[in-house]
Structures are given as C-alpha cells and as structure tokens.
C-alpha cells in the first residue's frame, strides 16, 4: 500500500492510526488474503487484531520499528540408550502451524519442529526426526510415495525399532496402501499417523496420536504398515488400522479413520493397554527389499448414472489400468461393457470395486455382473477402491505381463482382501 510505503512501515512495526474519529495503536499485521486493500490490520495491546480502513484524512505514523523475533530452537533430548524410532515428516495438519499472512495452516518445516510437537516422546525413545518433504497430503504424488518408501526401507534396514510417518489425513490411506505394497515384508512396524486438529491448538489430537504411535511400536509385536488415529471423539484411546483396509470416512471428526470390512488391528488405551482385534504379521529380522515400481497410467473412475459412454471410452482407452468404483455388487450401465471388452482385448486391465465400500463385489449375481466377468473385468472383491487403484498401479509397475497382473490382483498380498466378513 502506498501509504505504508511512504511512511516505510513494515509488518511488526508499532503504528498509530489517527483521524476520522479513530485513534488506534498497535503492531502492524500482515493483511489477510480476504482483506480489503485499504484496510490495515493491527494487533492492539489487548491482543485483538482489528481492521481499519485508511481514508485520505487519516494519519498513520510509526511509533516503533518492529524487532525481528527469532524462535529459539528447543532441540529435545535424544533419549540415548532407549529404543530407536524414526519420525518422518511429510506435512499435514499434525505438523502444521498457523500462518498469519495467509491466515491458514502451514506445514512445519524442520525435524525439530516435528519433535517439538511432542517433546515427551523423547522420554520413551531415541528419536531420529527427519522432514522428508513438507506438503499437504492432497498434493502428494506417486513420486512422493516412492521417495517415502525408500527412506522408510533404509531406516528399517538400519535396525531401527519402528518408523512413524506424519501425514496429512486427506490421502493418508492411499500412501499407507502404497507403502504396504512397495515395502513388502517388513521387520518392524511402520505407523502412519496424523491429526484432524492442527497442533497449534490445545485440543489437537496430534499429541496423543504421535505419542501413541511410539508407544505401540515399543509395546506391540506387530510389524505391518499401519494407520493410527483416534478411535472416538475422546482422547482416551486410539485405533490401529491395517494400511490397505482403512479409509477416511468423515471430513473433520477425530475418529474419521475406519477399517472397512475388518476390525482395526488393535486398540490402544491411554494407559498403554493394547487390545488386539485381528491377526497381524509379527516382528522379525527380515531385510526389506522395496519394490518401488508404479505405473502412472492408471485411471480411477467412479461410475454414476448418466455417465457418458464417450468420456468413459476415452479414459479407459488411454490407460494401462482402470479401477472402477461401481454400484452395488460391482455394476455399471450395460452400455459401457462393450468399450470395456474392447479395451481389455487391447491389453488394459480393468478392476471392479464397489462404491458401497462395505461388503464385497460379486459379479455372479446379476447378468450385468456376469457380462462384466465375461468381458474380462477383474473382481476387486472387498478391496477398497483406493487400495485397488494403488495396487493396480503397483502390479503394473512390477510386470508388463497381463496374466501376471491379473494374478497379483487376485492374491491377498498385504491383507487387502478378506474372505470372511462378519456380522460385526
């Protein structure tokens, strides 16, 4: 703003705005994205931010130049001699802070920032913190998955007792599934956790989720890729989910993450008590041989009534693999079957899942299903559509042999398929 330029005021300076019936002093704040261009935002002594529109008859004076505040870095003690745990930051709400400039939440940048969110974790383990990257989970890419898998594999092969990955919740389950398939058999647990409330709030779920992840690594004998999040609106327990079976089922609740078609692997109480609800892979000394290959030309389509056959045909023709989230037991409009048959004949792999999420695809029950089967569509059974999408990318990344890919998709590699679904 020209007035600020003319008086050489910068954010952090104490200014006085007077005239037009106003007399307000305070520290100049960054203007918000949604502020009117003529409005100055100042923090008054009382701590309140107020927005004042500057008119030509008003005066703005600098009372004092701002001091540059440096945040003293508090590197926590390392907990030498205790079990070793790696904490990998990727960004997301759990390692976020509020930025006044944009008025929004930003990912923490350094490993120290990460650890500072829960300094008491160093009381129970020797922490290696590393910010692998710092992005919102909606911006996560296949390349990021591969990088993360590589770093994780290195830590696991270094003899660490477990790896905690801090991740934004939006695409957490995709990353979890990708790591599951890429890492294969692992000797120690890899726990992906996050927060639904940013760690700049006293009520954040970040602390309990992160601390519980460390506790679970230390006290459980499970060694899988797992997702750990709140189990209810209470801070009293968390649920540990199998990476390939978990889904974000709510936009904002702490207990947004739910295991679909199975129970969570375990629940962990605030006293450290663990209740196991499913069988799991146990800890070992196996060496990790990550298989990072991923085919990016895979489409993930939600079928809907009225879907244009032309658009559908265009998409499936351009990809090596397609996962469809169909209706009910796994259906699409029968008009779409012909283009699917054509694509499959030319080498595309098509997997059918259900947008019902709960329950299994079954292509035997209705004629549409049987037509899909005969066209060569693979049943995704009770795999989550997102898991099927990640698995198909991975399968196509391992081999060009379509028969082999079909075999991979039908095998239960990382607990993504379950053959029994129980009443509760």
């Amino acid at each position: 703003m020209s007035m600020l330029q003319s008086i050489d005021a910068a954010e952090g300076d104490t200014i006085r705005i007077s005239g037009d019936g106003r007399d307000i002093s305070g520290v100049l704040q960054p203007s918000g994205e949604f502020s009117h261009p003529d409005v100055l935002v100042v923090k008054m002594d009382s701590g309140y931010d107020v927005g004042v529109r500057i008119t030509p008859s008003m005066n703005v004076n600098i009372i004092a130049k701002g001091e540059v505040k440096t945040i003293p870095s508090r590197v926590p003690s390392k907990g030498k001699g205790l079990p070793r745990v790696a904490i990998l930051g990727t960004g997301g709400t759990i390692s976020s802070y509020a930025d006044q400039r944009t008025g929004a939440v930003h990912p923490a940048l350094s490993a120290e920032d990460l650890l500072n969110t829960v300094p008491e974790i160093a009381d129970i383990c020797d922490v290696n913190a590393e910010a692998v990257f710092s992005i919102f989970s909606e911006n996560m890419s296949v390349d990021n998955w591969q990088q993360l898998a590589e770093v994780t594999a290195d830590y696991l092969n270094s003899g660490i007792d477990g790896v905690i990955i801090l991740h934004g919740t939006d695409t957490m389950s995709y990353t979890a599934a990708a790591l599951s398939f890429m890492l294969g058999d692992i000797p120690k647990p890899v726990i992906i956790t996050g927060a639904q409330r940013s760690s700049d709030r006293p009520s954040s779920d970040a602390y309990i989720n992160l601390y519980s992840a460390a506790q679970f690594i230390l006290s459980s004998d499970a060694a899988e890729v797992l997702v750990l999040m709140h189990d209810s609106p209470s801070d009293t327990s968390v649920a540990v989910h199998r990476a390939t079976k978990v889904r974000k089922m709510h936009t904002s609740r702490r207990d947004a993450f739910q295991s679909i078609n199975i129970s969570p692997i375990a629940k962990l109480g605030s006293e450290g008590d663990i209740a196991y609800l499913e069988s799991y892979n146990q800890k070992s000394n196996v060496r990790v041989s990550p298989r990072l290959g991923m085919e990016k030309d895979v489409a993930f389509i939600q079928y809907y009534p009225g879907m244009s056959p032309t658009i559908f045909e265009n998409i499936i023709a351009k990809n090596k693999g397609v996962v469809i989230s169909g209706t009910g037991l796994g259906h699409v409009n029968s008009e779409l079957i012909k283009p699917m048959r054509k694509a499959i004949e030319s080498g595309t792999v098509i997997v059918m899942t259900s947008q019902c999420l709960s329950g299994s695809v079954n292509l035997n029950v209705y004629s549409t299903g049987r037509d899909l089967l005969s066209a060569g569509v693979i049943s995704g059974e009770d795999m989550l559509p997102e898991t099927a999408y990640v698995k198909l990318m991975w399968a196509l990344g391992q081999t060009d042999d379509v028969v082999e890919v079909r075999k991979i998709m039908a095998s239960n590699l990382r607990g993504e398929l379950s053959d029994r679904r129980l009443m509760q």
């Binding site: 009117h36 701590g47 931010d49 107020v50 008025g103 709030r201 006293p202 904002s252």
Partner: protein, 618 residues
C-alpha cells in the same frame, strides 16, 4: 481530586440468537447427551514460549468430560467440526449496541483465539472479536467511557468436579456474548449499579438479548487509593453490585490498616518454615486434627513473628487470617487455623501453649497451623505465609469469586495479558458502510424514549415506567398490560410487590413465564387482583398456578357464594350498619375483602356490599 473508590465494569450479556459459530439453538437443556473425554495441552506462542498459567493448569493433569446434548450442541461445540461463519445476526446486534453507545465499529472484524485451557472451551481457546471502540454513556450527568465492545462465545457449563476430572455440558458453549468494558470511571457503589443498569437496558433495547439469572454476568474491578486492582468475577445479581463494591472497599481498607500496624511494629517478611508438630497433638480432641491424623496426615505449623492481632482482631475488623486461609485452600486443604482464633475448634490452651513453647514464640508472635497430608499441609502453609508477607506491602492484586452475601473469596492471581492468536478458521468480516447505515437507520427505541412512551400509552406514573425499563420488566409489562386496569396492577406488582416479596422470600424462581401466568389468572377472572401477591408468593415457592390457586382456596367463587359472605358480614355488624347507614360501606370493605380472600376483586365486592346494604336498609 482523589476518589474514595475507582471501579470499572466488564459486562457479559448473552444474546438471544442462534449460536455464534453454528446453527444450534442458544439454550440450556436438561439433556446430558453423549459424553466424551479430552485433555488440553498448552501450546507454544510465536516466541516459542509456553504460557506459565497454561502450563500450571496442564501440570494439574486435568481431564475433561463433556456432555454433548444434541438439542443444544453439535460437532462444532465438540470441536469435531470447524466453526461455521460467524452469525451475522449476532454481529448485527453487537453493531447495534455499539451504535447505541456511540462506539465506532472497526472496518474489518477479526475473530481471535483467547487461550483458555481450563476445559471450559473444547478447543482450548475462546473465540472473541473486537467489534467497536470508544463509546460512552451518561449516568446522572456523568460521562462514563466505554473502552471496548467485543463479541465472543460463551464457555461450556461446569456440571461437576470430581478429583482431577471436570465435567462440562456443551449447551452453553458458543452462545454469543457481548462484552462491554467501561473505563475505570465509576466512583461510588451506587453509581456502579446505575451504570450496569443503564448498559443492561441499552442492550435489552435491541430485543435480542437473553433474560434471567445467569444471562448477564459482570466482572467488577475495584481499587481504593493506596489499594490495588481487585477483580470480582462473574457477579450475576445486579442489585448486589453496590454491596460487592462496599465490602471490597472495607476489605482493602482493613488490609491497609494491617499494613500500617505491621510496619509500625517494624515487621520484616517472614522466612517460610514449616515444622512438623504432630507429636504435640496426642490426645487432642479437635475433629479436624483427629481426622487428619487418622488418615495418615500431619500437623504442620509455621511461625508468623509479629503478626498477633492482625490475623483476627478482637473487633473482627482485621482478618488477615481469613485471607491466608483462602489462599491455603487453593492447595487442596480444608483450611488452616491461626493463633488469633485459638484456643477453639477443640484445640485447647495446653496445645496452643505447647506450640508456642516448641516454636519459642514471643507474645506478639503468631502461628498458622494446618492438619492434612504432609505434602499438602506444607504447600498450604507456604502459600499462607506468602500471603501474610504480602500484607506488609498492602493489597495484593487478585481475582475473587463473588459470594451470595456480597462478600468475595480469593480465587486466583490476576491473569496476565491474554494469549491471543488469530482464529484462522473464521474469515475476517467486513463492515461495509451500507451495513452500518442500515443499522443506524433501524436503531431500536432507546430506554428514555421507551420510558415516556410506556408511561403515556398505559397511563402509569413516569417513575413506574422508569423503574420497569431500568430493571428490565418493560417487555413483560407490555405483554401483561392489555388494558389500563391491568396496566396499573402490573406496574404496581413489578415495581413494588416483587421487592416487598423479596424482603421475605427467595423470588429467583419468578421468571417472565410465571408472571405472565399469574396475570392470565387475573384477566380470566380465576382470582382477583388482590390475590396476586399471595399467588406469586406460592409460585416463588415452586407451585404452578393451579396449585397456588387451589392452595390459597382461590378457585372461582360463584356470585351467590360471594353474596352470602357479604350478607353475613353485614348481618354480624347490623347495629353498626343501621347506625351509619350508607356510610358503613367504607368501614365494611376491610372485613368483606378479608372474608373473600382475594376470590373476588374489590370493585365487584364493593358492588355486592352496596346492594346488600341497600336490601338491609330498605
């Protein structure tokens, strides 16, 4: 010129709109709803510091249980969903009050997070925004400045404290509150009440504020010359304001007197020493001592050299001991004893002497004693002695809780500057000129105009309408007063009957609905207007209107029944009637009304009396 006392007010008024950041109704409910448990954690400030008070609270490892009734809360109150846009209705009410107070609204409103981690906000902060600055009002020709007007969310309601777990209900959380802070411009107890009443009636003029106990709360900042700022937080009874101010003035004066006495004696700050004298109390009959010892506690004592006579003076005016006990109680003990009040409470002279010997105390030396677990007793005495040392300086700044009798009790030190962060989930709200113009052109009727209109429209005295508006009965009055006769009755009831009743009984149960029900009984002829005070008395005790009517035997009296009673009264006084003739009507009204006991109104009774008298005389 130095004033006898300086007082500033902070008034919090609940609005009668939907909640501030969601669409839940703003009401308190009986429903408990689903419960969940949380912890709160102090967070770093921008400078990397953790707030001391916040940490203090976190160290107590409090756990919070929340009841989330679905009739008055949703995921937003449970902190399971981000806040919605701030209620524009609530913002308009705040802007309207700002306009009525001549305060200048900000051009952009920013909601802040005020850190509060006592669990009363599920988020760990209270959302609050500055709406307007620099208003004023005039009371008795004196100008009182209004420094700030804020809009904020009310906190959750504390239901229960059980050890380290506090239970809150989320119904109150998120109800919009207007917070008005005056400058420290008031200088007499009565003036404080008048300013509060005036601000209250201005807010009520919007017709968008809640009524009744607990919907308006006042924080009163009081200091006397040489004293210190003491905040009495959360006064709900407006009429008690002068008493709180007076009692606080007396308290500060007595603390200054204590300081002068101690300084005259040349007393130095006491070194804090706590001595275990449990061994002296074998065989002591004091209940406090025996029960503490039975549960493994100790009797701990601290010396207070030179403090005799100020802990509790003979005339009871100096009471440093009581102040020390209030501080000690914050450490979880039930209280302390001090030497000015002993021997008493079962601690006989022999024990007092033994303590004095053991601690080698001179005649002017006092002591404080605490029987509890060793650790708690030690902490309590340490705090108590620190408070005693504070008396050498004068009046400590502190926050105090109001008690029903108009006194107050220590609750905590004055909070430091509030920790405020921007609430990034709520967009800044622009106050464009047309929004303000619209508010200015639709301002509600101001109290003084209302007072005149009510007096004129209903034919009541201006003093009555003034009192109705000042005390906030004007709305109820206008609803009840459907004709001039009822208006006169309603005005009399609301301005004088209620305060007469209040001198005898607790009338806090008498809300608007009860008053309306009582007057409905009059206008439908169920009972006579003379019975209103009795009916209200019964209703204040918790009866409903039907129970009150039947308890008082008021249920409708037939004309024949009434005529018979009147005739009997006349017969019993036949000689008198014959002697006085028609002039007997006046003297007979008293006995007649007493017999009718409010089951017939005076006018009808007078008519009957006239007729029956006529019969006898003719």
């Amino acid at each position: 010129m130095s004033h006898e006392v300086t007082v500033g007010l902070e008034i919090h008024q609940q609005l009668n709109t939907r909640k501030l950041f969601c669409n839940c109704p703003s009401c308190l409910v009986e429903e408990e709803g689903a419960t969940f448990q949380r912890r709160l954690r102090p967070i770093q400030s921008e400078e990397g510091k953790i707030d001391r008070a916040a940490l203090d609270q976190a160290e107590r490892k409090m756990q919070f249980r929340y009841q989330s009734p679905s009739s008055a809360s949703c995921l937003v109150e449970a902190d399971e969903e981000p806040p919605h846009d701030a209620s524009s209705e609530a913002i308009d009410v705040a802007l309207t009050v700002a306009a009525l107070l001549g305060a200048k609204p900000l051009d952009e409103i920013y909601f802040m997070r005020k850190l509060v981690i006592d669990g009363s906000n599920t988020t760990g902060f209270q959302r609050t925004a500055m709406i307007a600055l620099d208003g004023f009002l005039e009371v008795n020709g004196r100008r009182i400045s209004i420094d700030t007007l804020c809009l904020e969310e009310d906190a959750a309601r504390k239901v229960e404290t059980d050890g380290s777990e506090i239970t809150y209900r989320l119904d109150r959380l998120g109800i919009p509150l207007i917070e008005i802070a005056t400058a420290p411009d008031m200088h007499s107890p009565e003036e404080v009440k008048e300013v509060a009443q005036r601000i209250g009636s201005i807010m009520r003029a919007t017709r968008k504020v809640k009524r009744g106990i607990g919907t308006i709360r006042e924080d009163v900042n009081i200091s006397i010359p040489g004293g210190a700022r003491v905040e009495i937080k959360g006064v709900q009874e407006l009429r008690m304001l002068p008493t709180y101010v007076e009692k606080e003035m007396e308290r500060q004066q007595s603390l200054l007197a204590i300081r002068d006495i101690l300084s005259g004696r040349g007393i130095e700050p006491v070194a804090i020493e706590v001595t275990d004298l449990t061994y002296l109390f074998e065989g002591c009959k004091s209940k406090v001592i025996t029960s503490a010892l039975k549960s493994g506690g100790k009797v701990m004592v601290s010396r207070l050299p030179g403090f005799t006579g100020v802990l509790r003076s003979e005339d009871g005016k100096l009471r440093l001991g009581a102040e020390m006990a209030q501080y000690a109680r914050t450490k979880g003990v039930r209280g302390i004893f001090h030497s000015d009040e002993l021997p008493a409470y079962g601690i006989e002279k022999q024990y007092v002497d033994a303590i004095r010997d053991a601690l080698k105390l001179g005649p002017q030396d006092a002591f404080a004693l605490c029987a509890a677990s060793a650790a708690k007793a030690r902490e309590a005495l340490k705090t108590a002695v620190e408070r005693a040392n504070g008396a050498l300086v004068g009046v400590p700044e502190e926050t105090r809780d109001p008690l029903p009798d108009g006194s107050s009790v220590y609750s905590r030190p004055l909070p430091g500057a509030d920790r405020m962060h921007p609430e990034t989930d709520v967009l800044p709200i622009s106050v464009p000129t047309d929004r303000m113009e619209n508010i200015l052109s639709n301002l509600p009727e101001l109290p003084e105009i209302r007072i005149e209109r009510i007096a004129n429209d209903y034919g009541i005295h201006i003093q009555q309408s003034t009192q109705l508006v000042r005390e906030g009965w004007d709305d109820v009055f206008e609803e009840i007063a459907t004709d001039n006769e009822l208006a006169a009755l309603a005005a009399r009831t609301l301005t004088s009957t209620l305060s007469e009743l209040e001198r005898e009984i607790d009338i806090s149960q008498l809300n608007e609905n009860i008053l309306k029900a009582a007057f409905a009984g009059v206008s439908s002829g169920t009972f006579a207007k003379e019975a209103v005070p009795d009916v209200l008395r019964k209703m204040a005790e918790g009866m409903n209107i039907d129970e009150a009517v039947s308890e008082l035997g008021l249920s409708a009296m037939s004309a024949d029944e009434a005529r018979e009673i009147v005739a009997r009264v006349i017969r019993e006084r036949e000689d008198f009637v014959r002697e006085k003739g028609k002039a007997a009507i006046g003297p007979l009204m008293g006995p007649v009304m007493a017999e009718l006991r409010g089951r017939l109104d005076g006018k009808a009774a007078n008519e009957l009396l006239r007729e029956e008298l006529q019969k006898l005389l003719s």
